[in-house]
Symmetry: D2
Subunit: 138 residues, 4 copies
């Protein structure tokens, strides 16, 4: 595991699994977003507060995932989140989904753009610094 | 089928089914709400417009369901929605989930209360009339 | 809080909230089931193992919830699960959803029936004992 | 619209929208999969039958999406599905999410690998032909 990764854990629930008994692919993104939301709160930028204040939103403009091994119902999963790139008006996050045995089950990436009521905008300096600080360790 | 029922159809999708191969119980409520949303739009009270205007909201204060037979992945389902009761400040809806062979797989009920930014309020007269008009046929 | 309650915690995620900014009612049942799944694993009856072995399933035959206060995006929630009744071939669970300030936001109830490949069956004695042991403290 | 596209329609439901009032990004993949499931049934390869027979599964090994415009609660959306590539043991599907005004809100891509109980396998000839037949028109 990278030193700079933020860890988020979950267990594949009955409702996460589909009729084939494995994590439905779209739910991987839901869990990635849970990791992202927990990480943003940890950094001091809780999404719920930001949404309520309405000054800054960070919608996804891209998402992707590669599935290597099925994640079965009941599997304990560690999501490792790391910032992959920080731009002037967007940032990119990488996710690794690992099982308890250390196996890599999936990877994912999300790209977030900063917007406000006027359209695209720059990332706030404090958020940019927080993201870059994580980036330093990668 | 009752004359007064509003029909909404869906097929049990891969993501609706859980690891046991049958509709996850909580997703029944999601489909009930899809029926409700389609019906409200049909009545002339689309939820999205009401939410955007912000004058009236109809949050659920109660929900329940009885599950009689499993709904398997791929099953074609007809949801029949009927108003069960219309009060001054709330209304109750009943749902029957039937399969193509006419079998009754589940029933559900939701109770909706009218609120605005000041708290509980009366149902708008037009909505009340629309609900009662359906009720007449039951 | 009851002495006999099993606690499960979650935070209302962005995807839990609907366009009105509050927990979508059907997702309350998903969180109730997460509490149930964690509790069953704690009792020694993990659902995933039971499903794979295929000898016993405990599908829901009834579910209901009462919603008292909206649960907003970001809210920290404690689910308290207690067995309400244990029968020969079914059992009933109660859930209380409390916010960090001690307020009761919602209650829910689920009824589970024991089945195997031959149809309805008795609860295994060990599970029945585990359920009754919790019941004793209520 | 391409001649060869398979069309699937949906409306952004209350539960599809997040606290920001727009389609939660992961739910786009759920709708893409609904389009895929409807298309496979149309082609004569219903996923539920294939899963029950257990001879062939087509799990996703990759998924990605680009989000251009928010899809608001209530929006009517047309998903256009087209096969982008057909290989010996996998195939790639493209999705375009268009709103009623003809605007392109998002695109997505999924890659599916053929497996059976022994591991990776070739696509069945009939499925391969059905996929290529659509490909011809692109």
């Amino acid at each position: 595991m990278s030193e700079a990764a933020f860890e988020h854990r979950f267990r594949v629930a009955l409702h996460d699994a589909d009729a084939a008994g494995v994590l439905f692919f779209a739910h991987l993104f839901r869990h990635a977003h849970d990791a992202y939301e927990a990480w943003m709160a940890w950094l001091g930028f809780p999404l719920d507060t930001m949404l309520r204040h309405g000054e800054l939103r960070l919608p996804l403009v891209h998402a992707e995932a590669d599935y290597r091994r099925p994640l079965h119902h009941g599997a304990a999963v560690i999501v490792e989140l790391t910032p992959a790139a920080v731009g002037e008006r967007s940032f990119t996050l990488d996710y690794r989904f690992q099982t308890a045995d250390g196996g890599l089950a999936a990877t994912a990436r999300t790209v977030h753009a900063a917007i406000d009521t006027h359209g695209r905008r720059s990332l706030p300096p404090q958020l940019r610094q927080a993201l870059e600080k994580w980036g330093r360790y990668i």
